[in-house]
Assembly symmetry: C2
């Protein structure tokens, strides 16, 4: 059945009718993009294409996307309008075995969506085929940002909530999406602002900040915020960590560019060292909170109003104990938005909004 | 007379024998690149080319480069091997009137050096002419950095001094160069590490950090440090400011990538607001010092050991009073490296080195 409208989680104006390409990699670890698409844009997904798993379903293999079929050829989903690369392969390259599938999709005039480092449009064979068939190649990481931040006043009634983290891969995107969705369910005019490739594929737009040239990082995200400043609440996806040895430049450019009034600090329970850098211990959550509040407040008063715990690697009882411990230590609401639901953080945001608007007045700028 | 060897300020292995192109713009404000080249690479400069000022000298018009002639055509400097764009024009484009001069230099097989935003190699006419004549086009801002920081141990006996600032355009490059030169005069094995286009043109190499993609900023500067880690002292040019609304991403990526043990904080006396952003007051020097020490020390213990004052806009008596005031307030040595000479900061660096090596031991890594 064709979806009549985009899902509430997507910012797209019309449904993309997607086949997700996960051929040979339909597992939750590798197929991160596909899993997120199924979780947040279920209505836009027609099928998964995996020639080795035909007849099974997304729900069986990925734990999300109940009812989405796995097909072995594009002809099995004639209603599809787009093909999306559903994995994040090592090296950022499309597997050679996928080339014929992509070319067939192009010949069907489907739009090809990719968040890979290596751009489809830079591949001579894909580029030539797309030009010949009038098919669009969408490389969401590709950008030509070249404007510095203007630092113009933003309306104070547009609440900018930024999900920041103590490390990479702790769930900043998922938290921003879950909070935006929960707020929409309460009839709040909330919008998710994507800043990474998976978020952009889910949302249908956004800014790939990690691929923007240094001088223009803050300007690129400021442009996104200005475009949506008439909204009640923006949930802005964070990247990296201010203390990360590799990615802090992106984190700070993003923090300064979006000038959040409030932040949600995300972390993974049980993680003790920087992701992928076993020799570097993580700072404490209290240290990280101070760091973000100090750096954000250089440009605009900002504070951490809640903690998003990622408890994927611990059991329910441990997660409850950890939640209690962190709540006591930092004196802030704490939850795992997937395990416990986002209510505690939603409440923190709404309370902050009330206090904030009382202090700022509805028509001031900040 | 042809120079026999490169100047001590340049890292180049052989002299570039340059004509500096400042045609119609031979004044200290616009011809910043030419002025720095004359100050730090005098022996590599054969002439300035300015068709409107033939017969005068660089010294007369720019206040530096005594004895360097101004010529009206390339034929007047047959020994020249390179042509360098000597100004930073608004918009980053080569003036149209310069096109014939650049093309003539290419036909003479001269190397063309440019720090402009708009790359020579992307100009079809220049690219075709260069290919035909076998001339090199050197766009120092062009880069293909794509490696994240490795965060490998660096030898503790390699002292990394980073010139940081409370704003843009306060003299971080000049301070790093002057300190490197003063230390070399004391037979220290010091090396200037350039991180911006003018610094790279002066030094002959370096890393244009403001043009590197976000994820790779720290990796790009770390690569420079690793390449020179056998040196006694590296003087690493800073960029922007951690509190700058536009450029803090670059500043932090650079700070984390070079992991300095010590920093020199640069500022301009009398400046009260962010350069080019009159509505934003500058933080106090004490605040800025704490900020840099906090952020640098996330990855490696680091402190500010001296203050470089830029007193270009105040008189000598005011500069003395300001120097005294800041010295008392921050309890650190303070000088304007051009007006007062760099001795106080050189002494601070050498003292820091002694203490540091005693504490670290000569063969440890940090």
């Amino acid at each position: 059945m064709k979806p009549a409208s985009p899902t509430p989680d997507s910012n797209s104006s019309e449904p993309r009718r997607l086949v997700l390409l996960t051929d040979g990699h339909t597992n939750p670890l590798t197929a991160k993009t596909a899993t997120c698409m199924l979780r947040y844009c279920r209505e836009e997904v027609v099928a998964l294409l995996d020639r080795s798993q035909v007849g099974r379903s997304a729900g069986q293999l990925l734990g999300v996307g109940e009812g989405v079929p796995i097909i072995g050829e594009l002809a099995a989903a004639p209603e599809a309008k787009g093909l999306m690369i559903g994995i994040a392969p090592p090296g950022g390259r499309i597997p050679e075995a996928w080339r014929p599938v992509v070319l067939e999709a192009i010949s069907r005039k489907m739009t090809i969506y990719s968040g890979l480092h290596e751009f489809l449009a830079d591949d001579p064979q894909f580029a030539a085929a797309a030009a010949q068939n009038g098919a669009a190649l969408v490389d969401v990481r590709k950008n030509n940002e070249h404007q510095v931040a203007q630092y113009e006043p933003l309306p104070s009634q547009c609440l900018r909530i930024h999900t920041v983290g103590n490390d990479c891969s702790v769930g900043k995107m998922v938290v921003a999406l879950e909070l935006a969705n929960a707020l929409k369910r309460q009839n709040r005019d909330a919008r998710f602002i994507a800043t990474g490739q998976t978020g952009i594929l889910v949302a249908g737009d956004g800014c790939p900040v990690d691929c923007v040239v240094g001088d223009f990082i803050s300007g690129a995200i400021e442009k996104q915020v200005i475009a949506h400043q008439q909204r009640e609440m923006l949930l802005i996806e964070g990247q990296g960590c201010l203390a990360h040895p590799r990615y802090a430049a992106v984190t700070l450019g993003l923090l300064h560019g979006c000038r959040p009034q409030a932040m949600i600090l995300c972390y993974e329970a049980g993680r003790e060292v920087v992701h992928g850098m076993a020799e570097i211990p993580l700072k404490t959550l209290a240290e990280i909170r101070t760091l973000y509040e100090t750096m954000a407040s250089l440009l605009h008063p900002s504070r951490v109003i809640g903690i998003a715990m990622n408890s994927r690697n611990i059991r329910a009882a441990e997660a409850s104990a950890e939640r209690e411990r962190v709540r006591d230590e930092l004196e802030l609401p704490v939850c795992d938005v997937l395990r416990h639901g986002p209510d505690d953080l939603v409440q923190a945001i709404c309370q902050f909004q009330q206090t904030h608007l009382q202090n700022a007045g509805p028509h001031t700028c900040n």
